[in-house]
Symmetry: none
Subunit: 281 residues, 2 copies
């Protein structure tokens, strides 16, 4: 009956719990490790709650008592974090696809080159307008970069193909523009076209790609490399590209100084005024 991860069932019934039980449940959700190690009374003291509350919480979750819940927590955590105290973590090959993918992403991140990002940020900073282009799965990276840049450069940042077919956008490239193109093999036709047109228009071309031989990297002023393939996943990984795009926007923001900060505050105030956000938990 309660063979699922206890944290999942906890979250499911959490909203329907009475106030103090929910408070205890919240604490448990935030401090799962303590729940597995400390005693029930110790937990209660840390949470500022009555010990009996945790017994009741366990029973509300379908366990016979706190011991049952605690055992389930221990079991789920043992699987979750294989601490492997002595043997290096790298030794035991990842047992399943998921952790293998995460591990590959980890390795991919560590291969990124910070220096190339910083010089590209300078180029973005000094460009009059910035175009961001990414298609198919790379569209996710492009939208994020575009979104973050717009937070402090709202009027001078455009997404290629953001407001319709990309033809018109490409046609309006200007020599003082910078164009960021993101792509990896197999390269979408649109991204290659965008890069070619950017070169033709004498823009500053910044390419985020998987290899210097990529079509969009040809003649690019800045080349930022990330690993897309190589992982065990069935699809290419965009984790490295995302990390690089974020670092790029942050570095560009840092170059913007006080002016950029002011514009960011304005944007945030505008979002808050339209109550786009709800208050935190």
């Amino acid at each position: 009956m309660v063979a699922d991860p206890p944290m999942d069932t906890l979250r499911r019934i959490l909203p329907d719990l009475p106030p103090r039980l929910r408070q205890a449940g919240q604490f448990l959700a935030d401090h799962g490790f303590d729940a597995a190690t400390r005693s029930m009374r110790g937990l209660a003291a840390a949470a500022g709650a009555n010990p009996a509350t945790f017994t009741r919480l366990a029973q509300a979750l379908g366990y016979a008592g706190w011991d049952g819940l605690r055992d389930a927590l221990i079991e789920s955590q043992r699987a979750a974090d294989p601490i492997a105290p002595f043997s290096g973590r790298a030794q035991h090959a990842p047992d399943n696809l998921t952790s293998a993918m995460l591990q590959a992403d980890l390795a991919g991140l560590s291969r990124l080159d910070p220096a190339s990002i910083d010089t590209a940020a300078k180029a973005l900073h000094s460009a009059e307008r910035v175009w961001v282009a990414g298609f198919r799965s790379c569209r996710a990276v492009a939208t994020l970069l575009h979104y973050q840049l717009r937070l402090f450069r709202p009027d001078t940042t455009r997404l290629v193909g953001g407001t319709g077919p990309e033809d018109l956008d490409i046609g309006s490239f200007h020599p003082t523009d910078a164009v960021v193109v993101i792509g990896f093999a197999p390269y979408s036709r649109a991204s290659v076209t965008t890069a070619r047109e950017a070169r033709a228009a004498a823009c500053t071309l910044i390419a985020l790609a998987d290899t210097p031989a990529a079509p969009m990297a040809e003649g690019a002023h800045h080349f930022l490399r990330f690993d897309a393939a190589g992982g065990p996943g069935f699809f290419p990984s965009l984790t490295g590209a995302i990390a690089m795009a974020q670092a790029l926007s942050s570095a560009t923001f840092a170059l913007g100084g006080q002016a950029a900060l002011t514009r960011l505050r304005e944007t945030e105030a505008r979002l808050a005024a339209h109550s786009q956000y709800v208050s935190g938990p």
Copy 2:
């Protein structure tokens, strides 16, 4: 005096210990997690040793008693859990913002929980339809997850707000649907609404968020945690969320078996036929 990691001092004095103490020490080294969670007597039973042996072992390590050793073990494991596994990497302080961001992303990735991703993938696999919802910067994550899922589930995957205002999408949630909501603080109003409606419609709710206390995690059947803040960047980081989304789609694909593979091949063939791609370098 014994502020070092207990496992280190253990290993140091292990060879000089009397036979039974050494045997217990071996077991402790191999099952550090159990030592931190189970009771001393329980440990002794599992190790096939006398309970008193572990008290003596703790004293031999310089602790007042077993409780002292156990607390040290807990503390060292708590630290080892959330901090980066490649602790050597964290030592040399990053020289600039960019590499600091990448480093923070690296640490964030290592904190992801593969087990929770796998169980969520099962839920996606068995859902009739899958809705993906993310707004503002999380839209990037949502589009990528939607894109990858559509590669092998083209007809049963939808992006909330993908074809217009999200109201109509939200209204058509069905109990056999699964809804994936991505968000972090400050939480956009649309994402909270989507999660609430998903719950109301009795959908399977899968939340990707920065804390279990996030509004969209309330009552969620599956909760996948990632770190958004914490880095030195000016904007939250979506690297962890992207990595998790990709792992989620790959895991779901793997569950799909031959049928999913067939559909993926069909999609690829269709893209190639329309010559969306250019040949590689």
